[in-house]
Subunit: 459 residues, 2 copies
């Protein structure tokens, strides 16, 4: 017998990768399932370090075997024993238990018994669903993607910056912002409010990121952004994370190259580093997943000007719900047709009409379109939106004055165009849409641990 | 002559590290200073990739030399030429210009002319201050620290998680939260609000992080948190970033070990990876900086129970402004005495009286103190606060019912103690305080690109 107090705890992800048995091991985790036979029990233990469980064999020679027989799904255990080659199928190693201690009991009412649960039901127990295979895998992949984003940019000399969440300006000029206040509900005395003016949650860190790009060269943000949009769709949440690189001395063509390289790198990264978790999604969620990811990594993205994309949609003669017309924005159904039917791969649509894009995008020489781009992928639609920014003071001033924005809020932004202004570009990548793209999960509520949508702020 | 359009742009950080000249180079950046002599000019160019400038020599053989002579500080340039060993002092390489193009002019009104500016003045031009040596260095170090945090945790198998920013619950039970609404100012009809209930900006992601630790094992957050505290101090901002690890099967002693290892790793990381930027702070901001960082990396942190810390303060017979008494929280002056005078190094104070700590901290067997810890460092005071969490359902229920929190908002938190509950611990590291510790900057407004404080939401 080993003294478990002398062993250091092992993580299951490491044990299962072992070439040789380390001998005695100490494992702590939760019971996923238990099967009882005559004289012994098989317990599947998961500790969150990976998708796989480790099988533990506890037999009647253990002094507390009667207690072990009664241990339930969801209970927390600490156990020690010898790691030995498994005689069962499906695993290389198992643990022959020498000591099993109940740390925390889970009663029969524990909702995650061994059966399939609907995504809708699991959303009502968001505090427990990370304990399922699917959500555990989704959140581990989410973590890996976040790290891969940092590495991608830092390896290229980008500096990570934090732009403010609280803001008095509206980057997109689109409204739909949450207001932030310390006044009691009903009190309208803005002068007494925390900031003395109306304050909002940011919809994008771009304007501030531009200021830092004009000093540090290449920068990126990775932080939460907010939309107070009262729409219940599979693709929209009130709170989501965004990655926003911004590069000085960079034009739209270089911006597109970076966007493509980033998505290809991230898809390749999860294929290389999250194979086990990814296999769950390929088996149970989206049969086309691995094929689509491989194609995304290997094939160059298509590039098509907006005007040509409209012509393609018109020629398709499809009965779209939203009319196709030059000057209209692309709707989800149009994006899907371009990506899934026409090009059959990721597409970068660029040079949109200025009327449907924000004020900060650079006017093209035609005077009608701006140096903008949307990256569209299968199943998601727009995953990246970006542009070259208007660096010319006079052009920018004219755009700001033509729209209902208060120019006095933007004095600092304007001033950056007077002091050593340079061509610069950037884009925004919706992080949740990226997780959806990589896992095949189709509802944004299922890639965020605790999603926020209209009337939904539980947990 | 080279055709600059055929050259790929080099970053100055790479050029200055070169062992051999790459020959012809293309550089883009901003004029920091220019000195004119008879027949030639020395231009110092910075591109944000590092603290150092590269010196460019432009002579009268250049066709636009008359224009170059008129180029001003802050202007953006694109230039090509041969990189050659410098004959001047203080740099190894310089560029003999073959082509210099003005990209963006900066007029004489550009505020960052070559002279020292006060921190107070630079806060009023937060959109430009990253172009100064000091703030450029601070924000590059900030970026490096963020990456080092991710690496530290991911190398140890932690999963990065995003906990919600918008919340209906108050983690600390301390009030002082911003309210978030889509109602017009003065409208008190909460039922019509976006979430249908009062919603707030989070003060900590801990409660939700616990749910994920109880599924994934070891997790950490790194995201913005908010305090609507109407206090104007050097150490407080309304919006700041926090790092919050949370570990299942972890007690307070292990929590302290991780906190110490993290701070030592981060201090060591900037010493190794940010030597040039750090040297600016060691020279101009804090003469003791390198000594203090080296000591922090090398020496174990002191550990002292709260009761002993109080006894030390009482024995000191110092005329503290705030009275020292068992049951009172430690004030900044007390923390400073412990760190700077008594222990002369970082101190972990633990086992605080339950009355001055939040409800979720684990009750010690004495029934009076909780398994809490504060890590105190010189110049900053508390940089980390953490605890072992109360994992026992009945004890937690009693704590929640004894304080003015609505228990119905915490049903999910309570439930985690009924389904396979385990000992678990975590802490919060204030990221801005970390940047202050590492740079010697004494005002939190100067380590955040666009700080938010009472009545201050410009930019």
């Amino acid at each position: 017998m080993n003294d478990p107090s002398k062993l250091e705890r092992s993580r299951i992800v490491h044990l299962l990768q072992a070439d040789q048995s380390p001998g005695s091991v100490l494992v702590k985790g939760w019971v996923r399932t238990k099967r009882d036979a005559k004289g012994f029990s098989f317990i599947e233990i998961n500790d969150g370090s990976c998708l796989a469980n480790i099988q533990v064999v506890a037999d009647e020679t253990l002094s507390n075997y009667a207690t072990i027989r009664k241990m339930t799904t969801g209970s927390a255990l600490s156990l020690s024993g010898r790691m030995v080659p498994s005689r069962g199928q499906g695993q290389r190693w198992e643990i022959k238990a020498e000591s099993v201690t109940l740390v925390g009991h889970a009663p029969e009412a524990y909702p995650l018994q061994k059966k399939r649960h609907s995504d809708e039901f699991l959303r009502t127990i968001a505090h427990l669903r990370p304990r399922t295979n699917k959500y555990g895998a989704a959140f581990r992949i989410r973590s890996q993607l976040a790290l891969a984003i940092h590495r991608f940019f830092q390896d290229r000399g980008f500096h990570y910056i934090h732009t403010p969440i609280l803001t008095a300006s509206d980057c997109e000029g689109a409204g739909e912002m949450f207001r932030v206040t310390t006044l009691a509900p009903g009190d309208a005395a803005v002068a007494n409010d925390f900031f003395g003016v109306n304050a909002y949650l940011t919809v994008s860190g771009q304007l501030e990121a531009e200021m830092l790009a004009l000093a540090l060269g290449d920068v990126y943000t990775f932080g939460p952004t907010f939309r107070a949009e009262n729409s219940n769709t599979r693709r929209h949440a009130a709170e989501f994370w965004m990655v926003e690189p911004e590069m000085a001395f960079c034009d739209l063509a270089q911006d597109m190259v970076l966007a493509e390289a980033l998505l290809q790198h991230l898809a390749g990264h999860v294929m290389d580093h999250c194979a086990a978790d990814l296999s769950l999604f390929a088996r149970f969620v989206d049969k086309e997943l691995m094929h689509r990811l491989a194609a995304l990594v290997e094939k160059p993205f298509f590039r098509v000007p907006y005007a040509d994309a409209i012509a393609i949609l018109e020629r398709s003669a499809r009965p779209f719900e939203h009319p196709v017309a030059h000057g209209n924005d692309l709707q989800a159904e149009h994006e899907r047709y371009l990506v899934e039917h026409h090009f059959k791969g990721p597409v970068i649509v660029y040079d949109f009409p200025k009327e449907i894009k924000p004020f900060y995008m650079r006017m093209n020489d035609d005077g009608c379109t701006v140096a903008s781009m949307d990256v569209l992928v299968a199943g998601i639609g727009e995953i990246i939106g970006g542009s070259q920014r208007e660096e010319r003071y006079d052009m920018l001033r004219r755009r700001i004055e033509s729209i209902p924005l208060a120019p006095e809020n933007y004095w600092w932004y304007m001033e950056s165009r007077q002091y050593g202004s340079v061509p610069h570009s950037g884009f925004g990548l919706g992080f949740e849409r990226l997780v959806m793209m990589v896992t095949g999960i189709t509802n944004i509520r299922d890639v965020i641990p605790f999603p926020r949508t209209p009337k939904n702020i539980a947990f």
